[in-house]
């Protein structure tokens, strides 16, 4: 009976939200610009919803509490990195936006292809984007499955149920595009906020009197839980610093984040949005409280169960309807970002991978092609998830480090004299090659540093080393102006 109530609420939440999103776009004609980057028309509110909504996925929802439960102070990196991302983004993204606006770009790979005048670099960056987006999408599926398993009280086939929710969101993005996702984020963010406040304020207050008392209880149990191990140990201070730098550089390198930045209607709305985004971090603070409370109420969870910690507490101590609403919010936090990720992956394939000598389409054809690819990407992600769950979790650990390898190319594109496309490509290949070696050897920390950061440093060194190798675009050269390369001067 409980499971029926909880699952019915989740179903209603998902269906109502997607219907709301589709209702918001019912009169919009879907050109590729409209479909992929919302017609570059989003003002402050939409942009906020979209950018904040994309960053706070089910991984944040479950993972922040899970890390607070399982690791303690290392979890604090999550509130830092997006703040650093905004600080970097405020200098980088407005420039990226201007180039995109002027050259009518749709994907992050378009940006590389345009700035470095190299379709091959566009191809490489698109491939990197797709390869690292797929595990991210499958992670959302895992998040949904966890939520459905708890909300179903073990009574349903969660793989099938997660598949159904996923299919619904694919249909949703097929018709709604990026604008539909922004509309749906309006509902999603409201519900997630309510769920997070419940988990972080109501739950600890009910059991311990206040969130602060929950912290006292944790400290009695584990005196070192609220500080890092100094030095080069696993999850020590050096790891913390290198990880927030790495993920801060990577925060807006994701193809779907770049698409969200493109959707801004003006440079000012993008800048203001980035300036305000750190406020959203308070939600994560509440998830730490939820994780700490779970640590006292339900100690002893291990491995993947850690991510379920606070949901298990909700399941054991609250009614099925409360559980349903919280799990519904969590499902939306997985599904809406998954929608924009699938859209970004499909547009990368249609625009930057297939277009290299294979497929030529007009505007209408491109939306159609992107829609077909959405189905393809979704099926691929779902198939990989069903058959390869365990190894994909391993793959995900390098996904964030992987996507950050695009950062040097974006950073150096701001310079008057850019490196050659070849050097940027070498850098990406070396960075990702190193990540693969580390992943195969099972190394996650090198001299205390996050290995992703080591790869980023190697990548940057390679770009500097090969800076002048191969044809370069001098932005002041007549040739560059003739081919319409994105330069700072013209903007």
């Amino acid at each position: 009976m409980n499971s029926t109530t909880a699952l019915a609420i989740i179903g209603a939440v998902i269906v109502a939200t997607t219907a709301f999103g589709l209702f918001g776009v019912r009169k919009i004609r879907m050109s590729p610009q409209q479909f992929i980057v919302g017609g570059r028309s989003f003002g402050a509110v939409f942009l906020w919803l979209l950018m904040a909504g994309e960053v706070y996925t089910s991984f944040t929802f479950l993972g922040a509490a899970g890390w607070a439960y399982g690791k303690g102070a290392p979890a604090f990196y999550i509130i830092c990195y997006l703040t650093l991302g905004c600080a970097i983004g405020i200098f980088v993204l407005p420039f990226v936006w201007r180039v995109a606006q002027r050259h009518n770009l749709l994907t992050n790979a378009d940006y590389f292809a345009t700035c470095y005048q190299s379709r091959l670099l566009g191809f490489l960056t698109a491939a990197v984007g797709v390869v690292f987006l797929i595990p991210y999408i499958t992670l959302q599926l895992t998040g949904i499955q966890i939520l459905l398993r708890i909300a179903g009280y073990g009574s349903i086939d969660t793989t099938l149920a997660a598949g159904l929710a996923f299919a619904l969101i694919v249909v949703f993005v097929l018709f709604g595009g990026l604008r539909g996702a922004a509309w749906a984020s309006l509902v999603k963010d409201g519900l997630v906020l309510a769920a997070v406040m419940f988990a972080g304020i109501v739950l600890p207050t009910q059991f311990f009197g206040s969130p602060q008392n929950a912290i006292d209880q944790v400290l009695k149990l584990k005196p070192n839980w609220m500080t890092l191990v100094p030095g080069a140990g696993e999850f020590g201070t050096i790891w913390f610093v290198s990880t927030i730098l790495l993920t801060g550089c990577g925060a807006f390198m994701w193809p779907h984040s770049i698409a969200a930045a493109y959707s801004a209607k003006s440079e000012e709305s993008l800048r203001r949005n980035l300036a305000g985004l750190p406020f959203y971090q308070i939600m994560l603070l509440l998830m730490y409280f939820a994780g700490f409370s779970a640590l006292i109420l339900k100690p002893g969870l291990k491995g993947q169960e850690v991510d379920q910690s606070f949901m298990i507490v909700v399941q054991e101590h609250y009614s099925a309807s409360v559980l349903g609403i919280i799990a519904g919010a969590g499902c939306l936090a997985a599904l809406i970002p998954a929608a924009t990720q699938i859209l970004a992956a499909a547009s990368l394939i249609s625009k930057n991978i297939l277009s290299v000598g294979v497929v030529r389409t007009g505007e209408g054809g491109q939306t159609l092609l992107t829609r077909c690819l959405i189905v393809g990407v979704a099926l691929l992600a779902f198939g990989l998830w069903v058959f390869q769950k365990s190894t994909l979790v391993g793959l995900l650990l390098i996904a964030y480090s992987g996507i950050t390898q695009l950062f040097p190319g974006v950073l150096f594109s701001l310079m008057r004299r850019r490196p050659s496309a070849l050097s940027v490509s070498f850098g990406i290949v070396v960075g990702i090659g190193l990540l693969i070696v580390f992943a195969v050897k099972g190394v996650t920390v090198l001299g205390g540093l996050n290995v992703g950061f080591v790869a980023l440093l190697a990548n940057t060194a390679v770009v500097l080393l090969f800076w002048r190798v191969g044809p370069r675009i001098e932005e002041d050269s007549p040739g560059a102006i003739a081919v319409g390369v994105a330069t700072r001067q013209e903007i």
Partner: protein, 71 residues
């Protein structure tokens, strides 16, 4: 829009300096503030330090925006 014949610096030094303050405070927070005591409003000092800088960062970013827009 701008003339780039040497006069105007390309790198917005003033805005970068403003943003560098919270950026460095957060990046090096783990080295500077990794303590439990003093607890502030019941929260561990390390967490309070990070929250303080996260919440004050928008002020710095807003100010940097003003500087960037004026250019």
């Amino acid at each position: 829009m701008h003339n780039h014949d040497g006069g105007e610096p390309r790198i917005p030094t003033a805005a970068l300096t403003v943003v560098a303050i919270p950026f460095c405070a957060l990046v090096f927070g783990a080295f500077l503030a990794n303590y439990l005591e003093p607890r502030i409003a019941g929260l561990p000092f390390f967490l309070t330090y990070l929250i303080f800088w996260v919440l004050i960062t928008p002020v710095f970013l807003w100010f940097a925006n003003r500087l960037l827009e004026r250019r």
